[in-house]
């Protein structure tokens, strides 16, 4: 469809004009590349293994090394190269951030779409449900979920105790999967309102009315007409949400209830290194900067995209 391609090109041109957004995009691409190529780089000895302790990385007193020399950004409390850990940390943080974003998007878009499209009682119910989920601060809810998860894995009985619906028993162990699920479950309410508003607006458009008049089924209307036009908004939301999910993942890691050690996540690096802050500040500064840079990149890109999608609504 040539119309969409030309729209896309126009979008790219507008985006290119926004230097901040471009910077954001570049940073994201660079991080993704680093994350993806990390194992290869380790094999050719550009990076070191991030998990295992390394006695050579510690000095004679048993203390971490500072930056410079073979360890470009210094080493941490177990002698591991900070630079390598930060790069591997990008793998964890980006993958969890994106997985969580996808989870949140799927749920949020579904609910927003249903609410906007069908309206009436369903809309009311869904919006109230969303509001209920929004009343609890994201990190607090994530903490409650993660904190209640045992190391052995907790079996959640999602069915009433009386009924033997054991297929609704989930054993969640602490690890990357439970982390991104929890973050996703906590972030979806933020997307619903915008999706719903867009859906409401689109519902009134001529092509939707036309499709309805032609007798198209609801599902067809949603998937063929509404959804594709929602896509730009959804993409903007997704990018902005990723910034959020990465921050949340770092927060959980910092509290010690995210992906457990020895996994190199930026949040756990800060929590493991903060005891050394007064003597070796690089252990906290470096992973922190990594977080800030990545999240900033997503935010800038998101803002840039928003200017394209909705030029008047410069919020």
């Amino acid at each position: 469809m040539p119309a969409s391609i030309s729209l896309l090109m126009k979008a790219c041109r507008t985006l290119a004009a926004n230097r901040l957004a471009i910077t954001g995009a570049l940073i994201i691409v660079a991080s993704a590349l680093l994350a993806l190529t990390a194992p290869t780089m380790t094999r050719i000895h550009l990076l070191r293994l991030p998990d295992m302790q390394d006695q050579k990385g510690l000095d004679d007193d048993g203390s971490p090394r500072r930056g410079g020399g073979t360890y470009l950004l210094g080493t941490d409390n177990l002698g591991r190269d900070v630079l390598s850990r930060v790069v591997y940390g990008a793998r964890v943080s980006l993958s969890i951030g994106i997985a969580a974003m996808l989870t949140a998007t799927v749920i949020g878009v579904t609910i927003g779409l249903l609410a906007g499209f069908y309206g009436g009682k369903l809309d009311l119910l869904l919006m109230r449900f969303t509001e209920m989920n929004m009343t609890i601060p994201a990190i607090l809810l994530a903490m409650a979920f993660a904190g209640l998860l045992d190391v052995n894995g907790r079996t959640l009985h999602l069915h009433p105790a009386g009924l033997p619906w054991h297929f609704l028993d989930f054993t969640l162990k602490r690890g990357a999967v439970s982390v991104f699920l929890i973050i996703g479950l906590v972030c979806w309410p933020g997307m619903v309102r915008v999706v719903r508003a867009q859906t409401l607006a689109l519902k009134e458009r001529e092509f939707v009315q036309a499709a309805r008049a032609l007798g198209a089924s609801d599902a067809r209307i949603v998937f063929r007409c509404v959804f594709p036009n929602l896509l730009p908004t959804v993409i903007v939301l997704a990018v902005m949400t990723t910034a959020n999910t990465i921050l949340l993942e770092a927060g959980l890691g910092y509290l010690g209830i995210g992906v457990p050690p020895p996994a190199p996540t930026w949040g756990t690096m800060i929590s493991e290194g903060q005891a050394y802050f007064t003597t070796f500040p690089h252990l906290v500064i470096v992973p922190g900067m990594a977080i800030v840079l990545t999240v900033l990149a997503f935010n800038l890109l998101g803002q840039g995209l928003q200017e394209i999608v909705d030029p008047q609504h410069r919020r």
Partner: protein, 560 residues
């Protein structure tokens, strides 16, 4: 005008003279200045978590012990050279020739902070409490050697199960025996205690913070919450306690020991992470640090400001990892031994700036009976793998490992142990909990498979450490200090033989024999004997560190 000028000059000269004199008596940086303790000021301490209790039956950590010794007194005490001296007792006890009867006389004029005089009945009651299951004492062992203790405990147990539920501590006893027959008040100020069998450590027991004297009416008045409403004979009373935030004690003028307590108040801020504590200390917001985390140790040690301010007690703090012998996979001795070979203890010690020695057994090297000839477990991952294979473990192991993040040294140790064990196929899943949670769950049967602990000896005798930590007969379902839940009948039997032994040489031999068996059984990963450190501000004087209950701050003063 000239008159004023003269007056000012004279005044200034006078001030200078006073200033010089004052500087002289301050004695520079020396901490052991006994010349002129200054009165007044608030001593500020910090702790990483809230304390749970100030009831001698359930105190555990350093701050709880410290506060208990500020508010209460036992009959006996240790001086700075580890010698037993009388405290609430007038003099050291008279001991019968066969070593089983102890007679004490209370000092005249000893009063609780509510004004009431201390009597022999109070002493009997305080010691008796440990034997009454209603009070859930973790230290009942210490007093079970008293004649009639077992019968007393049994009778109270029967009463408890007959009338369940939360009941205030009433003295309504019905089932005989109503008292511990071996302990009685001869007269108002004299107590006689008869032991079932002679025990060389009984005086030491009476010098521990668990043996402090408490007033019966207060225990009964507060019931379950007596732990947070302490009242004792000591030079300080509890003024204020905001749970989890701050605790304040103020000077008590009517105590027998008020004269040697120089500060006006003691303030303990709780819930502050170690790194924040160090920063606060360096900024002068705290007067005393009870521990120096590895991350800051070298820096502080090399800091000229604190040259004379770091106190060190060597090797008195064993750090070990308990392997719950009642929970698989640690029911198998081979697995436990394998883990001991798999951990590179020397490297871990280096990671905390070598502040200690590698442990080969249970006892800290400051305790009598320490055996330097124990073989220990040198670092040998190949042997570890072999032992694991022998135990039938072919696909590796996964074990949940409970650790503390608030204690930096233990946390760093745990991270390294995780790495070492991963190298032999044992995956440790770290579970970060608070100190309170660890104590609650770890001392409960069947809950925690593996965790990291430390121990501070109560007194200088092998019985103390060994009896609590590795005596199988001391295992209880709850509040059990034998956190490895280890029980070896041969070891238990040796305990029975060693306790009443009056020949000191033979006694030590028996304890050493049982320690050898324990070391071989490996209910722990024996890590190291850590040194204990305390850091005081330059202006905090009169502090000396001790090798058990190292932080005693009753008689310090602030020279600001």
């Amino acid at each position: 005008m000239r008159g004023l000028f003269n007056a000012i000059t004279v005044g200034a000269l006078l001030l200078m003279m006073v200033g010089v004199a004052g500087a002289d008596s301050a004695g520079g940086l020396s901490g052991a200045n006994v010349h002129s303790p200054k009165r007044g000021g608030t001593l500020r301490l910090a702790h990483t978590s809230d304390i749970r209790s100030m009831d001698p039956t359930t105190i555990y950590d350093w701050l709880e012990g410290l506060l208990t010794m500020l508010i209460y007194n036992p009959l006996l005490d240790y001086d700075e050279n580890d010698k037993i001296v009388p405290m609430l007792a007038e003099a050291l006890p008279t001991i019968s020739s066969d070593g089983s009867i102890y007679t004490f006389r209370l000092r005249a004029g000893a009063r609780f902070s509510n004004g009431r005089e201390v009597t022999a009945e109070d002493v009997v009651y305080s010691l008796e409490r440990h034997l009454d299951p209603k009070f859930h004492s973790s230290y009942a062992n210490y007093y079970q050697g008293i004649s009639g203790a077992a019968a007393f405990t049994e009778a109270r147990m029967k009463e408890l199960t007959a009338a369940p539920g939360h009941q205030p501590a009433k003295s309504g006893r019905r089932i005989e025996p109503l008292t511990v027959t071996g302990m009685h008040a001869v007269d108002r100020r004299t107590i006689q205690i008869q032991l079932e069998k002679p025990d060389l450590t009984f005086s030491d027991v009476l010098a521990t913070p668990y043996s402090v004297i408490v007033p019966r009416e207060e225990v009964e008045r507060w019931g379950d919450s007596f732990a947070v409403h302490p009242m004792g004979t000591g030079p300080f009373v509890l003024k204020d306690w905001k749970r989890g935030v701050r605790l304040k004690l103020v000077h008590n003028p009517i105590s027998l020991f008020s004269a040697q307590a120089h500060v006006d108040a003691v303030e303990a801020l709780t819930g502050i992470p170690e790194s924040a504590q160090v920063m606060m200390f360096e900024r002068g917001e705290l007067d005393f640090l009870s521990a120096i985390p590895a991350s800051d140790f070298l820096r502080l040690k090399r800091d000229p400001n604190y040259q004379l301010c770091i106190a060190e007690a060597t090797g008195c703090n064993p750090i070990y990892i308990s392997l719950n012998c009642e929970m698989p996979p640690f029911t198998n001795r081979l697995v436990r031994q394998a883990l001991n070979y798999a951990v590179n203890k020397q490297q871990i010690l280096k990671g905390i700036q070598s502040r200690g020695v590698v442990a080969r057994g249970v006892l800290p090297n400051t305790v009598k009976g320490f055996n330097p000839l124990l073989p220990g477990y040198p670092y040998d991952p190949a042997k570890a793998r072999m032992l694991l294979a022998e135990a039938g473990i072919t696909n590796g192991l996964t074990v949940p490992f409970w650790i503390l993040q608030e204690d930096q040294d233990k946390y760093q140790t745990a991270l390294r142990v995780q790495q070492d064990l991963a190298a032999v196929g044992v995956t440790l899943e770290l579970k970060i909990v608070s100190y309170q949670a660890l104590l609650d769950e770890g001392q409960r049967r069947g809950h925690v498979a593996m965790s990291i602990w430390d121990w501070l000896a109560d007194f200088n005798d092998p019985k103390d450490t060994l009896d609590f930590l590795v005596n199988g007969e001391r295992i209880t379902d709850d509040g059990c200090l034998n956190v490895a839940f280890y029980s070896n009948p041969r070891v238990n039997e040796l305990f029975h033989r060693a306790a009443p032994e009056l020949d000191r040489g033979k006694r030590l031999q028996l304890y050493q024999e049982l320690e050898r068996i324990v070391a071989d059984d490996a209910p722990w990963i024996f890590l190291f004997q850590k040194n204990d450190y305390a850091l005081r501000q330059v202006w905090l004087k009169g502090f000396t560190i001790r090798s058990h209950w190292p932080q005693r701050l009753e008689n310090v003063w602030l020279d600001k």
